[in-house]
Symmetry: C2
Subunit: 381 residues, 2 copies
């Protein structure tokens, strides 16, 4: 009787904390726990490592290493893939499946357990949450997000100071195609305006708002989601292709990244010449400076999943984080049904965002502040 | 009798340490020290702040704030501009000019002092070094570089772990148009290959080398300077415009950033589908996580400049950092003539780079290691 654990989707700065939380809890209960390399792909390929054989010191060093130490996968299994997973579980007498990932992972566990039930194979499955986008429903926030938000806030603080010294417009393009949480974290770093994917993005409004900001502050620093879209629901970048015609007269996508397109647009529309842009990119999910709150909670959700297994009350669950209070900051970790999390996307709550000012509300700032950990202090003359 | 200090060029994470080092040293000696806002532009506009009136606590908080607290300028003064500066100095009885910046700043001081000599105005001028590119001659390294190198190393460590979990090719484009020091710091973060601007960049070699790396490691992580150029001396990006023809049959610059161009090129040439890229951009010089060595040394060069003024042995100097020994790490701060630093660019020493392997030598790693401070440790299974 063994447990199996895997890591799926994009790595984060703290996903190894969740792994180690689960492994240490399994060891404490005398359970064997197998790690599958490259997510569920490693299950069907039987690419296993016996995690219970690792000593606690090594495990604690793993916990502090960013990225997915068992490696990951983008595989989204169909019914047949899940049947193959089940066959391997039966072969190795694996009775507990722990999958650390986003809402896809929750769905994978659900399908495998369904197949197990149909074959009358008695097993349990638990989803351990992880995202940097923070788009899992039923959660106040998910492990991985606070550290990514910390990077965004700190990087934006640096850009804000840089922009103060050499004034102009500075655009930062932030991860989160459908959820504006990470882009919102730019406000903690001093962004004058925040453009989230949940709001229709209008280019004319945008140019006017940036110009107003520039007139007020002598500069403008902007936190913009990679997922901003127009009223038609299409990414804003598609509005810049209309005049691009190749030698054969075909209209082509320009291929220019969003940051560059918006910088060129603002130069033309506002007449302001110093426009700079950064795309924060992969360092958002991998930069090795985790939020202490995130490290702690990521560890806890891993532990809780194995505790639920040993307590033997539930056959399956997705572990969630609820916020009990904001000052002092306090959370509650709670199991919910897998179905509640699978295939759904959470968005930035409306009360966190002022769509007139294009800025976070106090409620939005209060939500983010306890998550990101201590930020550097800024002193001006 | 007063001193005047200003900050020029791109801000860094520690340029305020140098400012505060100078101000505290001036206060210790009972000297008045004026700060000019927006570099030399603030001199001619008499946009001044009395820095000696700030208390030490506030000054120490300023020292730890990234960016240029007095703001900066890109102005490169001509003869007339320098004469205007001198007029203001005479008007305010300013007898010591301290300019924190790159080699341009050194040249500015030289021209102002020349004009002062011609007008028989007795004054001194000291250049306090600052660059993130590390391209000042006469220096082992310059304040600002170690913190930027720390960011590059840490961000690359994160990308390396991310790339291990989801294998493919990952390109990071690094600052330093003419000097490869920052790109070299990518090696500390685990980059498989390092492409510096000092070496001719050959696209065919590049594709072959990346393919070899991918075959050896199952993935490839690359640290590439924004300044890589072909045998003709032109930026490599110019080699990608030949097939881009607009509707009127005119050849056009595609405008695609280097990272995107190289990613597309590698996809096509190697057949490897997962190619990702990041441009590290402005966070390299502004991310608020300075190297402790850098913070300390930046403070020291500021102090030394004012000490040289009070010691009254030299009319002018550029402050430099020489390395005395590597273990234990020890430096010596030394004045050199302004002319020795002005208008020159330092390059990555040949012995630091293996141009066959496209990788740092041990000497190169030994050079960088003491500068960047402690890096996170990585544990694998």
């Amino acid at each position: 009787m063994k447990l199996l654990i895997a890591q799926g989707g994009g790595p984060t700065a703290v996903i190894n904390q969740s792994l180690v939380g689960a492994v240490l809890e399994a060891k404490k209960n005398g359970l064997e726990i197998i790690g599958s390399r490259y997510g569920i792909q490693g299950i069907v390929e039987e690419d296993f490592v016996e995690l219970h054989r690792l000593d606690d010191e090594k495990l604690n060093r793993i916990a502090e290493t960013p990225g997915s130490v068992l490696f990951s996968t983008r595989d989204k299994p169909n019914q047949e893939y899940c049947t193959n997973i089940l066959n391997i579980f039966q072969k190795h007498d694996i009775k507990g499946f722990f999958y650390i990932g986003g809402n896809d992972s929750s769905e994978t566990i659900r399908i495998v357990l369904e197949a197990a039930k149909a074959s009358q194979y008695d097993m349990k499955g638990f989803h351990i949450p992880k995202t940097v986008d923070n788009d899992l429903v039923e959660n106040d926030h998910t492990p991985g997000f606070p550290s990514a938000a910390r990077f965004v806030a700190k990087a934006m603080m640096g850009l804000e100071r840089d922009n103060a010294a050499l004034p102009g417009i500075h655009i930062a393009i932030i991860m989160g195609r459908h959820a504006g949480f990470l882009t919102a974290a730019g406000a903690l770093g001093g962004a004058h305006r925040v453009y989230i994917p949940e709001q229709v993005f209008d280019l004319d409004h945008f140019a006017r708002e940036v110009k107003e900001t520039y007139e007020e502050h002598g500069r403008a620093i902007l936190s913009i989601s990679e997922g901003i879209s127009g009223a038609d629901g299409n990414p804003i970048i598609t509005q810049f292709v209309k005049n691009e015609v190749d030698a054969h007269g075909n209209i082509q996508l320009s291929g220019l990244p969003l940051g560059n397109v918006l910088a060129d647009f603002l130069k033309e529309k506002t007449g302001i010449s110093r426009v700079r842009q950064d795309t924060f990119g992969y360092p958002q999910r991998s930069y090795p400076d985790p939020s202490p709150v995130d490290s702690r909670e990521a560890r806890q959700v891993g532990e809780q999943a194995v505790q639920l297994y040993t307590e033997d009350q539930l056959q399956s669950a997705s572990i969630t984080i609820k916020r009990v209070s904001n000052s002092p900051y306090e959370i509650r970790i709670e199991p919910v049904e897998l179905e509640k999390v699978a295939n759904k996307t959470r968005h930035l709550p409306e009360e966190y965002y002022d769509s007139e000012k294009k800025q976070l509300t106090q409620a939005g700032l209060d939500y983010l502040m306890p998550l990101v950990g201590e930020l550097p202090s800024i002193e001006t003359i």
